[in-house]
Assembly symmetry: C2
Homo-oligomer: 453 residues x 2
């Protein structure tokens, strides 16, 4: 009762587990693992190297297997499924809700999927097929068709008796939905409202018809935004005819928000949000090679620019020493603007009406920064190389590159998005290529013009 939760629980468990695995006694591990919630077990499995993961996965209570599979990333899920035979998978998934099962289906081996479908009764199978008919990433795929509906012409008393007869409500039910004779959505009725009103009150006086419904084709992003803008815990989903199809609950929305945040953080480094920390080296290597290969190509672009100024570097070797500073500072400044823009784009805060003001503001900031840092950099270079002209050149080049970074930081993500690319994925590569090229070009170019004529 009222057990107080503890900080750093997982890493504490990791240590206990490592000790138990070392000693080879599986009993304590089984007891430890089965005190955890499915999400916690999933988190634990993700943090284990492959060989230990297999051992611990074998000790999880089979009843929890299905829920655990739902709580791990795609890559880890694949590694867990690979370790189960068809019967085990079948047992794991048969008790899942329809929306959760629809989530898993894509990862199941074909033969197992057939078994699953065969083992279901007709009603369940039809509901699963219905769920699978909506594309991934839409409200239809996200919703649970299990909804309690009442009619507007009933009274509180009638609904109370109906609920007592019905028994248990679907998880996270905070509202019942009021529908017409033809099952069209009319509004919602809070459990709290039911409990605080006189039994004789007619439902149509209590009904909240202000709550809008999602269209079954609305995107996950739209669903997440509406939920957090309105602090909803659940919301109805309807089709074109306003027929009530199901209900989306906040716990699934929280998963979307977390996944999207992970996607943003990882895709900037060319990684997928499902990346398994312990995926086999062969596999991790192939994915990262593509990303590093792209970066290698852009690096050659920059090297090509330097190559144009071979003669200048040959004469003044200080240029080679200083040129990475100008390029690198542009990259840093650009990354700052890019980070702000990616957030704003995700929140849908950028439009043709404010992009101009934003660009002007960033150019202004870059100009002040360029002048301040340019003077600072110039002074240090003066102390180092005792050449006032070289100082002036590097200070000017830095200012030019910071202005380039500001313009690029605003325009690159906007342009990428308009072209249908993910700014979080490609923005960094494109932008640093621009700041590298402009950094080398402005510094070496100015130096050639001013110092070598």
């Amino acid at each position: 009762m009222a057990e107080t939760v503890r900080l750093d629980k997982t890493s504490h468990q990791l240590r206990l587990l490592a000790d138990a695995l070392d000693s080879g006694r599986l009993g304590p591990i089984r007891r430890l693992v089965n005190t955890l919630s499915p999400a916690e077990i999933g988190n634990l499995l993700e943090s284990l190297p492959l060989d230990e993961r297999v051992v611990v996965w074998g000790l999880v209570d089979p009843e929890d297997d299905g829920e655990v599979l739902l709580h791990v990333g795609d890559d880890v899920r694949e590694s867990l499924l690979a370790d189960m035979d068809a019967d085990e998978i079948l047992a794991a998934v048969e008790d899942l809700d329809i929306d959760d099962l629809a989530d898993l289906v894509g990862d199941l081996p074909g033969t197992v999927l057939d078994e699953v479908l065969k083992s279901m009764d007709r009603e369940h199978r039809e509901r699963l097929e219905q769920a699978l008919s909506y594309p991934e990433g839409t409200a239809g795929r996200l919703m649970n068709p299990d909804v309690v509906t009442v009619r507007a012409d009933a009274t509180v008393d009638v609904v109370l008796r109906f609920l007592r007869l019905r028994g248990e409500l679907p998880e996270h039910t905070d509202y019942l939905y009021v529908v017409s004779r033809r099952h069209q959505y009319r509004g919602r009725l809070g459990l709290a409202t039911l409990l605080t009103h006189d039994p004789a009150t007619p439902i149509n006086r209590l009904l909240d018809s202000e709550q809008p419904a999602f269209d079954v084709e609305d995107s996950n992003d739209e669903v997440a935004r509406q939920f957090s803008d309105h602090d909803w815990l659940s919301a109805p989903v309807v089709d074109n005819n306003h027929t009530l199809l199901g209900r989306i609950t906040i716990d699934d929305v929280v998963d979307i928000i977390r996944d999207r945040a992970e996607h943003q953080a990882l895709s900037a480094a060319g990684l997928a949000e499902d990346e398994d920390m312990f995926s086999p080296a062969r596999r991790a290597f192939r994915r990262r090679l593509v990303w590093l290969g792209v970066n290698l190509c852009t690096a050659f672009l920059a090297a090509g620019v330097i190559g144009q100024f071979e003669g200048s570097i040959d004469k003044i070797v200080a240029l080679a020493i200083l040129m990475p500073i100008v390029a690198g500072m542009g990259g840093n400044a650009g990354t700052q603007v890019l980070a702000l823009m990616i957030r704003a784009l995700a929140l849908d805060q950028i439009g043709s009406s404010n992009i101009g003001a934003l660009l002007r503001k960033e150019l202004r900031v870059a100009l002040i920064n360029g002048v301040c840092l340019g003077i600072g950099l110039g002074l240090i270079v003066l102390l180092w190389f005792h050449d006032p002209l070289l100082s002036a050149v590097i200070g000017t080049a830095l200012t030019i590159n910071l202005l380039t970074a500001a313009a690029g930081g605003v325009m690159v993500p906007v342009t990428l998005k308009r072209m249908g690319f993910d700014p979080a994925l490609a923005g960094g590569v494109v932008l640093t290529t621009i700041t590298d090229v402009m950094g080398f070009l402005s510094f070496l170019g100015l130096a050639t013009l001013v110092l070598l004529r």
Copy 2:
């Protein structure tokens, strides 16, 4: 009714708004703005340049002012508060819940705060002072003290009559809390359970005593983790004596999750999550200057390394052309590992028991990548400069730097965290400094040893 929500709502509104602002007619803007929820108005205000923001803010229904202030970042909030006089602020905040008011208090001008406190009745003032006594970032600050409690020795019928007498329940109430005579938390009782059981059933048979309570001192991060691990919609908060103090609801937890994701995304670029997209240039400039200044210092470190090999570059200018490639590729590879590590650290998935396995895996990946990319890079360099030894040098240097990046990518964030720094904030700077230095050192060092002896 069942109005279907639309994609890209905000940017559509932005365009309408820009048109209306251009035409100078404020009536349509007022009507447009006041169809939005407070969170949507907040989002809209954040996307407006300062002069337009002031105009639109003046058109928001004063009744919504308080809620809107809650839904914008600290910087934007400051810009909005600066535009209100004391009476307006007082009117805006007086209807807020205690936990929301506690959130705002830090941003209110001192004189206004005194006014607010004076205008409250004694009970409210005491509750606000109580809320403010818990440190920011803890369960105590997050909870709402407004909780409905019942006693275990009652029956369903008694509770139903009590609720009808009481009337409206606090927002998002899904469970009532069962307490002892001395107000100690004993368990929870779902509204759904109340509705689906016979009126004569005693509460102590329906009571769920499995739901743990948060300690009032638990951190926001711990609260967020537990909520998403267990799919809770609300949870009780107790003190050391298990006395029930309040209740945390999922909508506040969603805000924490979003804030933390923003913090991670922006702090990697040295920005605060409260950064206002349109903060005055003077202000934005000062904050960014610090970050760029730090980066400038690390750039000089790398330049210093290059400076040690002045003689070598003077003899072979190709070294200057190629050296940024080796340094930059190390930075890219390191950033990938760092992104994975920061996610895993946030999920508390890293401990002394798996760090070794992780390091070995990343070194293995880096070695394969290094050999593949090293051969590729070597071949291109061979075609460009026709010097097999130079090719061998750059391929080897790249492999060395990728191994450095892997080791650094794993160890830098772990070490920073152990030292009490935020790996998301400082990890990138430290790591790219290491890969820059090692990139120049390995390439120019090897070249000096092999090509110039």
